[in-house]
Amino acid sequence: MPRQPLSISTAPFLHAADTTPRIMWEVVYTLLPVWAAAVYYFGLSAILVSLAATAGCLITEKWFAQESRNSLLDGSALITGLLLGLTLPPGFPLWMAFLGGVVAIGMGKVIWGGLGQNVFNPALVGRAFLQAAFPTAITTWEAPSGQYWQVRGTNLALPFYQGQPIDAVTAATPLSQMKFSHEPTAFVDLLLGNTSGSLGETCGALILAAGVYLLARKIINWRIPAGMLGAVALFSGILYLIDPVSYPSPWFMLFAGGLLLGAVYMATDLVTSPLTPRGLWIYSIGIGLLVVLIRVWGGLPEGVMYAILLMNAATPLINRYTRTKIYGHR
């Protein structure tokens, strides 16, 4: 007879290999090449900004998370930190990046009850806070410099320092160039990321590759990038056909700014996207339409963040009102 008493629990006794931490860590691994590309283009500054944002996330998670287990081990706070870092400009002051991380986890996740309980994408909550609190710093872009070891002076700005940034060589992003002076950027530069912008807004090709992997592993739902990119392409394509002079081409819309990062990593956040197939279509197409709306007619050059946050807000409602078509009832 067995040494330990036979105990009772209920079937099933087989389980698929994927667990929640394993899924989260796999997302972290796919983010590393994207992050490496940011380092390639922006040098040491990229590393520092990412580290600051990530540190803010991890420390907040460690101190405030309610779970009895060590919730750092599930990898989700690390994803938030890395993603937040990728949405920031390379010359962003480090203390602000850190504060963004604190807000991302604190306001974006912990107060909702931790992993799985939040309504808004935590990284975008952090970025929205930074956009509201530091509108100048977060829109001060620099061209990729090629000087890896140079730390941008603005990185080390002290809290609430009011003077001019010390040695910033600013450059307009492709989106603001388009919006404010109607100058498109060469497509190959957009694809390879050889443009100014946030850390992760640049290398479209790598983000797409990571997206393909995540889709193949079924970690993200294909309907989200499909609906989002499809809606952007279609909506902006129609505008482009109507007036190719005032409106940007759909190719430009797809590859400029944070759309790809949003479509692969932000909108696909499992927790804050809907459950049902129909709900996912409503959500992703809604994001695509909002992106074009904000970019073309809004006051800001970029609209991915607000588009996703708005549809995040709609997700509980979408979940409630989209039903699956049940077997035997169809």
């Binding site: 036979l6 209920t10 079937a11 006794f13 389980h15 698929a16 667990t19 929640t20 079924k218 049902t276």
Partner: protein, 453 residues
């Protein structure tokens, strides 16, 4: 018409479902062995869905192998027979695999009990009308051997306005580990086709399908060859290996492309489904006068000394069965009746094998260790797993809050507890377990509302 086109070699399936490792390799090469008669057998009166049988023997009475010891108590009930020559030692309460004490007949086996059947007169099926056939099945104690143990004569008693168009034999055996149906198809192919022919002569289906998952290519091959010599309109259909392919609804949908409407039975689509073992039992009754007194079960799992497919007399104690199969190892931690997905955990081996027992599975501590649970991360994998297209994530959330009415509204009562949702859940949330609870509460509320009116 089935969805088969062309040469009929393509694999059919349903939408959604999961792909657990099937672990069939432990026992699928093991030819069926016969368990020697145990010293005592404990035969519960309730081994089937419906009213428990009524004993017609008394303590101390001598019984023969195949002799009726309890009779059907109403239409949804079947007779019970002694699997051995012996003496009735007791009629009273004994442990039942359902976890309760149940009225049972305990028989002490004669030391020289033989394999010879000493049953009553079995009618020639060609002389029977449909009513006589139904009565004979009830008298033979035959129930569905797939696991539910629903009396076969009730299922085959077709209403006049619902003719059987498609007769389907279920040889999917989609539960991992279990191989008894597989071995029955290989070793009892003749009886299987004979029982099928007897059944067909009464239900007169237009088309007959034998459905087998493609992880049993030898069974597909064997039955195709056997069916080729049969005058019946039989097609042996290969189905994709996918859980829960053997669930009645999923099998029907795979073959016909139609869904069984909620709350209806397969016969509403003109479909009659029987387990492969059940038709073998029909043949054995009419040709060998052997009522349902033994069945093939799979004794398997990494914690079993020698995984085996075993022909076991009904009522044999699981302890004796497991001992015959090399006993269980020191690290055994869970004993299940049935497979790992839908099986029921037992706290003791001191219970009898009953007509609905398809397997005994013993797992080690390593295999059953509890996974850490997390909050639902709304990944939606359960929605892609559920063969009924329910929304387990939402139902799980509602269950946590005790919102039973909302769950009823989302059709939780349709759930047949295949556990595919719990299998895929990365947060290890006990989804199917909470649905079982919810279904119980909802049914109880309905019953109470009914009596209040």
């Amino acid at each position: 018409m089935s969805r088969l086109t062309g040469n009929g070699n393509e694999l059919l399936t349903f939408q959604h479902g999961v792909h657990p490792h099937d672990y069939k390799e432990l026992s699928n090469q093991c030819a069926i062995e016969r368990l020697p008669f145990p010293d005592t057998l404990t035969l519960p009166l309730a081994q089937h869905i419906g009213a428990p049988s009524k004993p017609i023997v008394r303590k101390g009475q001598r019984v023969r192998r195949g002799e009726k010891i309890a009779e059907a108590a109403g239409f949804v009930s079947v007779a019970l027979h002694s699997p051995v020559d012996g003496e009735v030692e007791a009629i009273g309460l004994f442990d039942h695999p359902n976890g309760q004490m149940q009225q049972s007949i305990r028989i002490r086996t004669d030391r020289f009990s033989a394999q010879q059947i000493a049953g009553g007169q079995v009618p020639d099926p060609t002389t029977l009308d449909r009513k006589g056939f139904i009565g004979a099945l009830q008298e033979a104690g035959i129930v569905g051997l797939g696991g539910a143990a629903f009396p076969s004569h009730v299922k085959f008693n077709l209403p006049d306005d619902k003719p059987c168009r498609y007769l389907m034999l279920n040889g999917c055996e989609c539960e991992p580990f279990l191989t008894c149906d597989h071995r029955v198809m290989l070793e009892y192919a003749g009886e299987l086709l004979d029982g099928l022919a007897i059944l067909q002569s009464f239900v007169e289906a237009e088309e007959i399908y034998i459905a087998i998952e493609n992880n049993k290519p030898d069974a597909i091959e064997t039955l195709r060859r056997a069916a080729a010599t049969s005058p019946l309109p039989i097609q042996v259909v290969g189905l994709q290996t996918k859980y829960p392919q053997g669930a009645e609804k999923m099998m029907i949908t795979a073959i016909l492309g139609q869904e069984v409407p909620s709350g209806k039975l397969p016969i509403d689509l003109g479909v009659l489904v029987a387990n492969v073992g059940t038709v073998v039992a029909i043949s054995q009754y009419f040709r060998q006068s052997q009522p349902l007194i033994e069945r093939v079960i799979t004794v398997t799992g990494t914690a079993v000394g020698r995984p085996t497919n075993l022909l076991v007399p009904i009522g044999a104690s699981m302890q004796e069965v497991v001992d015959y199969c090399g006993g269980i190892t020191d690290d055994a931690a869970r004993i299940l009746l049935g497979g790992p997905m839908m099986g029921v955990v037992q706290k003791t081996l001191d219970i009898p094998v009953v007509k609905g027992t398809s397997g005994i599975l013993v797992l080690t501590e390593n295999e059953v260790r509890d996974l850490t649970t997390y909050h639902c991360i709304r990944c939606g994998r359960c929605l892609d797993a559920c063969p009924l297209f329910l929304n387990p994530a939402r139902l799980g959330l509602l269950a946590k809050r005790g919102q039973w009415e909302a769950m009823e509204e989302l059709n939780v009562l349709d759930c047949f507890e295949c556990a595919a949702c719990s299998y895929v859940c990365p947060s290890a949330i006990p989804l199917v377990q909470s649905f079982r609870v919810a279904k119980g509460i909802i049914r109880e509320k309905r019953a109470r509302a009914k009596t209040a009116n």
